[in-house]
Symmetry: C2
Subunit: 328 residues, 2 copies
DNA sequence: CTGAAAGCGCTTACAG
DNA sequence: CTGAAAGCGCTTACAG
């Protein structure tokens, strides 16, 4: 069923059918009705590919994410898809972790209107090169990431500030000996750690590299190992700030095994405020990155750019908030 | 940059460029090299939309899911995307929960090669009607769902069997007074409950409708409320089987508050074996639906169907396995 | 207000 | 082995 058949049945030209289909002006009511009736009868829906060829766009936006099984990212993708679909865009998610070398070739094969990279783990040299060489003509969005190119919009959560707020909050509860559990080396983790360091020095608290513990993985298990390392280090402490929720759960687990009471003996905090921290009380105190709000802003800026508006390429940053659970 | 420019630069016809692009036979090595050189120089990549118009397919598969923020579904989507992209298909995820009335019109606008519905919450009359009326010519896959139409492939986890295995396991640990926490009325929850009932009657254990408690939501909170209802009912019990992991966590939480020791006084089990149950010991005993295995089979069948092979429309079912944590 | 025609960027018989 | 031409299903100036 194509536009020619509709035209034949309605006794008009395909141009007229097309006009009805696209709500163009200058159609006589009689003709409009005649075509509409056939459209309804046949349940015809126009071929999006042909339409896309004409417009050189299928209103599709590619979203690249490391691995959607991560709950934070699943939330981001969910909101981006929701907001963009309301604007008439279709989103296509690529899990970078399964693509390897083929990722960039996949991305260039499609005629995407725009690309979104979710998570600072994707603010890499490779991605930057790719955008510069194959994607410099269309708007690109880094969600919680940054790449210094003129066509790239960045929206980020001010993680440094989040960590400062958290350290400040825990300080006010009376704790003074802070440890830090980090995971990874991407931009987000660097921002978190530097915010934390800054606040501690502002508070005149002792802090050195030996107070930073690295979780070997960004999950519960990784947190357990970091917790064990903390115990083994023999360093005295009464607060452990973690750069992610899941490792924080592991840390709590190990500290409890060693007889520490949370938060009486030790305060523990996470980052992202995911449901993971709310499955058993006391709920995990965490930094909330306001995913939905960030997604709102991101989509607004991207849609403006897609409409041809000039947009600032200064990274736009929002301040997170604190979720106060029972672990601090 | 289009095929005409490449042809001009290489001094051949567009037909020849197209042949090189598609690795067609009957090209002289000399011509091949000439074209290849230009292709490489320019970094040209063919317009997928134009190609799609010719083939009337862009090798795209729509995936419909209620809400990708659910971890079980995120895992399913992840594996489907991975497997299908290896077969050259691009997947497009629609979160049905945000689409409302527009879902079906969105699905028909695109020229998808196939549609996948993930989760038994989508095995509805509406979906069935839609497939019958607008999608009867292409293969459709119900992932852990079922619709009785000739072009629909179904792969399902045998949840009834999973619940039987779980009841049997708990029975062997000596428990005799079973309660059940249900959520929702979809096919999966019905299969779980009926499997559970069947096993109990086989074991000659007392069981009635008053032993089934409904979680008002499929999350931790819903489980807490079901747990409270169990306490309030005054019914004696030493095992609570839950139809999902998250509510099981809530049940455990409330039972602990009332002084029950898990699993000494009460065994509690979940379903799906997600990470939620592994954030604090004892880990939640749960039924593992073998998502990855199911996805493998699903994609294999779908790809066969897309290649035109006749496939059986009998639902294909795999047996889950038990993950034995510390709550039973 | 309506239609004939060109064209979007490819692929693929067909002819040579 | 290669090219000219038709055609995929639309949209959109252009002419009337």
């Amino acid at each position: 069923m194509n536009i020619h058949e509709i035209a034949k049945q309605a006794n008009v030209s395909i141009a007229t059918v097309s006009r009805v289909l696209n709500n163009k002006p200058n159609i006589s009511p009689k003709t409009y009705k005649k075509v509409m009736d056939v459209l309804r009868e046949t349940g015809y829906s126009p071929n999006a590919i042909a339409r896309g060829l004409k417009h050189n766009s299928m209103n599709m936006i590619g979203i690249v994410v490391d691995d959607i099984r991560n709950l934070y990212r699943a939330h981001v993708i969910y909101h981006l898809e929701d907001l963009l679909s309301r604007q008439g865009y279709t989103t296509i998610v690529f899990n970078a972790c399964t693509k390897g070398e083929t990722l960039f070739s996949l991305l260039s094969q499609h005629q995407f209107d725009s690309l979104i990279f979710v998570g600072s783990s994707l603010s890499t040299q490779d991605v930057s090169h790719f955008i510069a060489s194959s994607c410099s003509q269309k708007p690109v969005l880094m969600f919680n990431g940054y790449v210094g190119l003129p066509n790239v919009i960045s929206v980020i959560c001010d993680e440094a500030r989040g960590m400062q707020m958290m350290a400040d909050h825990i300080y006010r509860t009376g704790k003074r000996r802070f440890l830090y559990v980090n995971y990874g080396q991407n931009l987000a983790s660097q921002r978190k750690l530097s915010g934390f360091r800054g606040k501690l020095s502002e508070l005149n608290l002792e802090f050195s590299d030996s107070h930073v513990f690295e979780a070997p993985s960004d999950d519960f298990e990784g947190g357990c190992k970091a917790g064990q390392a903390i115990i083994d280090s023999g360093i005295p402490f009464d607060a452990v700030l973690c750069s992610l929720d899941l490792p924080a759960m592991g840390v709590i687990q190990v500290l409890r095994q060693y007889g520490y009471s949370i938060p009486a003996d030790v305060s523990v905090s996470g980052f992202d405020n995911l449901i993971y921290g709310k499955l058993t009380p006391p709920f995990l105190t965490s930094v909330d990155g306001k995913i939905q709000e960030l997604a709102d802003i991101a989509v607004e800026k991207l849609v403006a750019a897609l409409a041809g508006e000039e947009v600032s390429h200064e990274p736009y940053s929002i301040s997170p908030s604190l979720y106060l659970g029972g672990t601090t």
